[in-house]
């Protein structure tokens, strides 16, 4: 998960009856009648404008405008220094370069895809499995839950470091252990480009699992109990109950999990940056953008083009996510 918020755990909607407000439903449909809000005095209107306007200004000004500026910059050659007059417009040259002559680009896309597939299969399934196991009365249930969720609370930089203790070629635990039990030569977990991505994915998955587990736990809680009762009465065993009854009812959660996993895979950055700045097998789009933009390289135009690629791919899923969430909120 990126260092700023992970894609937010959404408000998990129940699969059963649409989320009704707990209180008495609005008796006055006042808010429902479009356009006829309650009458407000001047002061109130100003207050409302401010209350919405200030956050909106912040979000638009600090997020959306820079995003659009980045799109514009992707068509330039610029080193970020000097006034705007030093910007040189070069059309889609950056994109062509990225796709044709930039060696880390293709590995980065591939690695992001691998990241997605792996995160999707192992941690997601494991998280779901753990959630199902823990979704019952049991002694120490909350302890287990805390333990599995713990990596989510740690910063990714920390996680990268903690796993280095295990993976380091010369000083790591894994190689020390292997040396004890076998004659195999030391494995270069982080330096060998064929395996380092997977080594890192173990660490990333370790974190992702806890997160997914919690999402499913929340979702399972919201499943209508009567569905399960009905299944039990019909004689369904636990597995059948889960696959035929519970899982389909978890559809909204599943959707959310898909989107969260995808966005996470796209934004994965911290761990690989910590380890080796995203090189030599650990290329990821986010790291490529950062290494082009931050630092002496300062290839702002080119880095922006890479960032736009990230943006475009993200936007597809963001649209899916937002519309899912809002459809739920709409009810």
């Amino acid at each position: 998960m990126a260092s700023n918020a992970p894609p937010p755990p959404p408000a998990v909607r129940s699969a059963g009856p649409p989320a009704p407000p707990t209180g008495p439903t609005r008796r006055t449909g006042r808010a429902r009648r479009p356009g006829t809000g309650p009458r407000h005095g001047r002061g109130d209107r100003a207050a409302l404008a401010l209350m919405l306007g200030v956050p909106a200004l912040l979000v638009v000004g600090l997020v959306w405008l820079p995003a659009m500026a980045t799109v514009l910059l992707s068509f330039t050659r610029w080193d970020g220094i000097g006034g705007l007059e030093t910007i040189e417009w070069i059309g889609v040259q950056n994109y062509t370069d990225a796709f044709t002559i930039y060696p880390p680009f293709e590995p980065a896309l591939r690695n992001n895809l691998v990241w997605l597939v792996v995160l999707f299969t192992v941690p997601t399934l494991l998280g779901m499995f753990l959630a199902v196991l823990l979704d019952r009365e049991m002694r120490g249930g909350s302890v287990y839950r805390s333990i599995f969720y713990l990596p989510v609370v740690l910063s990714l930089a920390l996680i990268g470091f903690v796993w280095q203790l295990i993976y380091s070629r010369d000083q790591g635990l894994l190689n020390a252990f292997l040396a004890l039990v076998s004659d195999a030569p030391a494995v270069d977990w982080f330096g060998n480009p064929d395996i380092n991505l997977y080594a890192v994915l173990v660490a990333a998955g370790w974190r992702h699992t806890g997160y997914i587990m919690l999402l499913y736990l929340a979702g399972l809680k919201a499943v209508d109990p009567s569905l399960r009762e009905a299944a039990a009465i019909d004689g369904a065993g636990p597995v059948r109950t889960f696959t035929r009854v519970v899982f389909p009812a978890l559809l909204p959660v599943n959707l959310v999990v898909v989107v969260v996993t995808v966005i996470d895979a796209l934004r994965a950055f911290d761990i690989v940056w910590i380890i080796n700045r995203g090189r030599n097998g650990l290329e990821l789009i986010s790291a490529l953008v950062t290494s082009n933009v931050i630092g002496e390289a300062s290839r702002v135009g080119f880095g922006s083009a890479l960032a736009v690629v990230m943006l475009v791919i993200s936007l597809v899923f963001i649209v899916v996510y937002v519309s899912t969430m809002l459809r739920g909120a709409h009810r």
């Binding site: 002559i101 030391a186 480009p193 090189r279 030599n280 300062s298």
Partner: protein, 432 residues
């Protein structure tokens, strides 16, 4: 991505921790941050950004500045940055509100800042104080294309092949002068159970050292500098021969360099597990003072082509510049004059183990045998270069060359494709 790793490993833990604070603590000088208003317009205060962050360097800087403050009556506020992070954020830093005096190094980047007006012309300091104080070579390295000087140099930390004298004596090794002798030595070391060449390329930039030296020895300094300036094709036979020669040397290096950081490789030398290492003088930070440090010795990278010889030295030069719009211009220029002076250089280089003075008149009396040897190498060098990431465009060095060199280390056989890839990227970056 810079060859000045700010600290030693756990062998000197205090020093190491000082580095923890080294992410930029103010030295304890008056005029604290937060109430900067006072110092902004104060002619008695000069602000300085120092990228010399490891403990020995901080002490050295402090000493040197103490001398200046006593002599001039001004105060210097120092902002110390971890070297690597500073290099990464320097563009943003210079465009923000930089300090008056900034520690940096000679080479392409300095010239680039000069062209963009991010640093000030300090030719007046040169003409006033430094006529004849430095070699022409050094002077030209501090000069921008417009003919004016923008930097005052103070020290250099050259590269060489380092080894432990005791190891050589114990096994009866002799310092190799030519490629054949070098390879033979490597083979002997391997047979004796040592790793001939320590190698840690996880950070990427250390690989440039080997490329540079091979290029210098096979193709000469003019070709090397022109190549880095974008004047030659990377797909040329000369460049390919460099990679070919490197491929032949690879078996003599420590295996799996890509997962090993440079500090770990240096540690292998300290522990006597490796016989030699091509490295910069900053390796002295890793050797514990005393017996170990005294045991450190070096020799010039051997000759590969008798017509070219082995007298070109990679000697990255460090110095100071003045920001483009300093708050205290007069004070800044004065401080620069001090930092480049013989006195300051001698004080600084006496404390910082990796640094050698660049001043022509610097006395060699206080030098250790290692220092003296390296100093001789530099003094008698036919030409001086700065290291790839200082001699060429940084976007080329970090974004193109580091991945390319790491790729070479993984797959040393497909040289033609590698150089072709590099050349295509170089065309798009340099534009020619």
């Amino acid at each position: 991505m810079h060859h000045r790793p700010p600290g030693p490993p756990g062998l000197r833990r205090r020093a190491l921790l000082g580095g923890l604070a080294g992410a930029g603590t103010l030295l304890a000088l008056p005029g604290l941050a937060g109430c900067g208003t006072g110092s902004r317009d104060d002619p008695t205060v000069v602000t300085m950004a120092s990228n010399r962050a490891n403990p020995a360097q901080r002490v050295a800087v402090e000493e040197s500045l103490g001398l200046y403050e006593a002599a001039s009556g001004r105060t210097v506020e120092v902002n110390t940055f971890d070297s690597t992070s500073f290099q990464e954020s320097v563009n943003n830093y210079l465009q923000g509100t930089p300090d008056d005096v900034i520690g940096w190094f000679a080479g392409y980047r300095m010239r680039f800042f000069a062209e963009r007006g991010l640093i000030s012309d300090v030719s007046d300091v040169w003409s006033r104080r430094f006529e004849g104080a430095f070699t022409d070579q050094v002077r030209s390295l501090c000069t921008a294309p417009d003919g004016r000087q923008y930097m005052v140099p103070d020290s250099t930390a050259p590269w060489a092949v380092f080894h432990r004298r005791s190891v050589f004596e114990r096994h009866g090794y002799e310092v190799p002068a030519t490629r054949e002798e070098f390879v033979a030595l490597c083979e002997r070391m391997r047979a004796d159970g040592l790793e001939p060449l320590a190698s840690g390329i996880r950070e990427g930039w250390p690989a440039m050292g080997m490329f540079d030296h091979l290029n210098l020895r096979l193709n000469g300094p003019e070709f090397h500098l022109e190549l880095l300036d974008g004047d030659h094709s990377w797909d040329s036979s000369e460049v390919r021969s460099v990679f070919g020669a490197w491929a032949e040397l690879l078996p003599h290096h420590q295996p799996d360099p890509l997962g090993r950081g440079i500090n770990e490789a240096q540690t292998a030398l300290v522990r006597g597990e490796a016989g030699m290492m091509l490295c910069g003088m900053f390796i002295t930070h890793v050797f514990p003072e005393g017996e170990d440090l005294d045991d450190l010795d070096c020799f010039a990278f051997p000759e590969f082509d008798p017509e070219i010889g082995a007298d070109v030295v990679e000697a990255p030069i460090d110095g100071f510049m003045v920001s483009g719009d300093p708050r205290n211009a007069e004070g800044a220029h004065e401080l620069l004059g001090h930092l480049g002076s013989l006195e300051a250089q001698e004080i600084y280089t006496a404390i910082d183990p990796q640094a050698l003075p660049t001043h022509l008149d610097a006395g060699t009396g206080g030098f250790s045998p290692l220092d003296a040897k390296v100093n001789d190498m530099v003094a008698s060098a036919g030409a001086l270069t700065q290291y790839m990431d200082r001699d060429t465009r940084p976007d080329f060095a970090s974004v193109v060359m580091i991945p390319a060199l790491q790729r070479f280390l993984r797959q040393p056989d497909d040289i033609a494709d590698l150089t072709d890839t590099i050349q295509r990227q170089k065309l798009s970056i340099f534009g020619r």
